[in-house]
Amino acid sequence: MTEYSVLIGGRAGEGLNRAGMVLCHLLQERGYHVYLYYDYPSLIRGGHNFSIIRASERPVFAHRDRVDFLLAMNQETVERHRGRLTEDGVLLYDDYAVHTEGGVGLPLERILKEVQAPEIARNTGIIAGFCCAAGIPMETLEQVLRREIPRGIEANLAVARGVYAVGNTLRQIPVIPGKRRHPILTGNEATGFGLLAAGLSSFIAYPMTPTSNLLHFLAAHADRYRLKVVHPENEIGVMLMALGAACGGERVAVGTSGGGFCLMTEGLSLAGMAEIPVVIVLGQRPGPSTGLPTYSCQTELHFAISAGQGEFPRLVVAPANPAQACRWSATALHLAWKYQVPAFVLVDKNMAEGAADFDPGGVPAVAPAGPVRWDGTGTYQRYADTGDGISPWLAPPSPGQTVKVNSYTHDERGISTEDPALTARLQEKLQRKGAALAAEVATMQTVLSTGPADARTVLLTWGSCTDPCIEVAGMRGLRVVQPVVLWPFPAEALRAALSGSGQVVAVEQNVTAQLARLATAEGIAVHGRILKYDGRPFSLEDLEERVREAVA
């Protein structure tokens, strides 16, 4: 498989994320699939940021430690990452900011001065240096820059030309023919598209990494989609406003991370009791508490499943990459409304802020699905007891009818009751609805398997660990099993997917092996655990090494 990795690094606040995106587009123009990992600390300026862009013949959502090109905007980048360069790797640096041996220094200071370009164009300079070195023609760069950073384009182009004037091809990145140009989306954006395709009409959120960018994305495009985007006073307000909006007829989602989600748990329980649909995009980042706000983990699985007082059905899906995020966010919204339950899209920073080229064909069709609506006969009862536990839906106003939503134990009309028999019946109704949801979910492909069906060793994983696992397993002939629906837990499907396996090794980004614990609770044996809890994603080398040890 032909592939290249490029690392660009510098100080925060220099537009490095943007630069990474431009590199993605350039490499896509060469015919590659691309993946971007963006590593940054929780601060606005200064500190060390870097992106690793991996270009590959096949779609990937994982990075390598080793890189073929190292683009250093500052000294720290060279010092931290020089060791990553492959033997024939190319080091390019801003010769004003970096002093080092070997590699190619670019006279960016001089060029910027000459063409009177602003500081921020320095990034363009190093990108141009990369293009020269990789044999990417100036026309391709110009085309990408005009499309991706139209603002101040002339100065950027002038800088690029200045760099081309002094640069040479050092390591040609060949063109692979045939790939259509696709948008490059982050997991957050793909989630947004999925929700939009499922008919999202309101989005309510309080900013919190790693899902703030979902808020920013939807706010930026609110007009395009006639979307109500609201950023309230805090997460309690978010959740309760969302529940009010849902009852008023909106299809609504909220976004947050663990700390903000804590504040939503009381509202979550209300959604359970009052049977109000809502989608919660829950972005995981390392805790406990504030932890590492801009890094990643998979620690909220049990919390999402158990949060809120009392017992009520819910849906939890955990997509592995933007393509899954789009598809499953749409499914989550549809199921939330059909079953009038809260549904989680459980993502993590790696997935939410990682980017990849995205096939628009993966956006589900916009199908007008919704809850079963009241048929208009008799008197409306918000909590009418039905075979599957789903009560027909009605949003006010409806002449002559009252819709009574209630957080107390209630009768079918929605009036509070303390009667023991009605109490038991309500609990059973909720469980029946959960069973109906589980039955529908069981008809879906809730557990994805990759690799030889007869491989005895299986990596059992979830979320953003999946793609690294698939690549590593591919090298070693192992199987990978990924439950994408995590609640209702697809125990049968998982058992089926694991059938014939000898050794099951859980690969997770947490310290207590949360998926393994869930599987064990269902009597599914997990023999090994590969856990990472330093906030960083598994690199392929890293994971391969760990797998080698575990599968000895």
């Binding site: 499309r147 948008p183 598209f193 939009l196 395709a197 008919g199 009409s201 309101s202 495009h221 395009r224 989609y225 006639r226 979307l227 109500k228 309230p232 006073e233 805090n234 309690i236 307000g237 978010v238 959740m239 309760l240 406003m241 969302a242 529940l243 009010g244 909006a245 849902a246 009852c247 008023g248 007829g249 909106e250 609504v252 009381e266 509202g267 209300l270 995205f358 628009p360 956006v363 069709a365 916009v366 199908a367 007008p368 949003a395 006010p396 106003p397 409806s398 002449p399 002559g400 009818q401 009252t402 819709v403 009574k404 939503v405 209630n406 957080s407 107390y408 929605g414 009036i415 509070s416």
Partner: protein, 282 residues
């Protein structure tokens, strides 16, 4: 909504003499009146917290959202955002709105969202059997403060005014006709309307003797005059005895929040097209 009474068959369990009866009576009367003048009753949505006051949701036969303790405002805000044509009425307790969920009250006022907020201010947690609230006077002896509180009450009207509330009033459960008038006026007001209703709690806090003695109707007051409103609002600080003005202290028109979100939803075809064009980079 079984016709004209607006009362469900749920068993009423307020204590005899409870001021909640007066509020229920006044609200019901106003709604029936407004209905007879053309308000479609199905457009009314009542949102309540948790507490004695909140039983209103069970008792009144209108659309309702019997929410959770302290969260009346965001729920009501969501409803109003979803459909700005609804008449959203909030019955909240003083524990509810002034303690557990005070921030939401302030932000609802700040946004000037079109809600009618009626606070059943009995200055005690009724349903949890008598603890002090933020409007209990300094020294109040409740079950969590048997020796008396050591913090002063705050003045909720002052807070709402400082938050940007555009309609601020005070009522009293033993002044029925005025209470009705205040509720009616508040519902009519476009934007955030707030009525702090001094409510008798027959079981845990019944200062009706003092209220009867001290309360007087605001007259000759211009509710468009912010400074006058401040002065009158400050006359009584909810701690020491002082004359207690009843009526509308402040009322002005300003753009309301939900109106900025009045949008016709996209049809599936429009949405499909919008997504396609977006993904194509347009």
């Amino acid at each position: 909504m079984t016709g004209t009474t607006l009362v469900t068959d749920a068993q009423n369990t307020w204590c005899p003499g409870c001021g909640n009866f007066s509020i229920q009576h006044a609200l019901r009367a106003v709604l029936l009146e407004m209905a007879s003048e053309g308000l479609p009753l199905e457009q009314v949505v009542l949102v309540t917290g948790i507490g004695c006051h909140a039983k209103m949701a069970d008792y009144l036969d209108v659309n309702s959202f019997y929410a959770i303790h302290g969260r009346v405002m965001p729920v009501a805000t969501g409803i109003a955002l979803a459909n700005p044509d609804l008449t959203v009425i909030c019955c909240a307790g003083d524990g509810d709105a002034y303690a557990e969920g005070l921030d939401h009250l302030i932000f609802a006022a700040k946004r000037n969202i079109n809600l009618t907020v009626i606070i059943h201010n009995n200055r005690v947690y009724g349903l949890t059997t008598g603890q002090y609230t933020p409007t209990s006077p300094l020294g109040f002896r409740g079950r969590s403060t048997p020796k008396g509180t050591v913090e002063k009450a705050f003045n909720p009207l002052e807070l709402v005014l400082a938050s940007g509330g555009t309609h601020v009033a005070r009522g009293y459960t033993r002044k029925q006709p005025m209470l009705k008038a205040l509720i009616r006026e508040a519902i009519r007001h476009r934007g955030f309307s707030f009525i702090d209703v001094l409510q008798i709690c027959a079981t845990y806090n019944d200062p009706h003797e003092a209220y009867d003695r001290l309360a007087y109707p605001l007259t000759g007051h211009n509710p468009g005059d912010f400074d006058a409103a401040c002065r009158k609002i400050r006359e009584w600080d909810y701690n020491r005895e002082a004359p207690i003005a009843l009526g509308t202290f402040y009322s002005v028109e300003e753009p309301s929040f939900e109106e900025r979100f009045r949008l016709t939803p996209q049809s599936p075809a429009e949405r499909e097209a919008a997504i396609r064009s977006h993904l194509e980079g347009n």
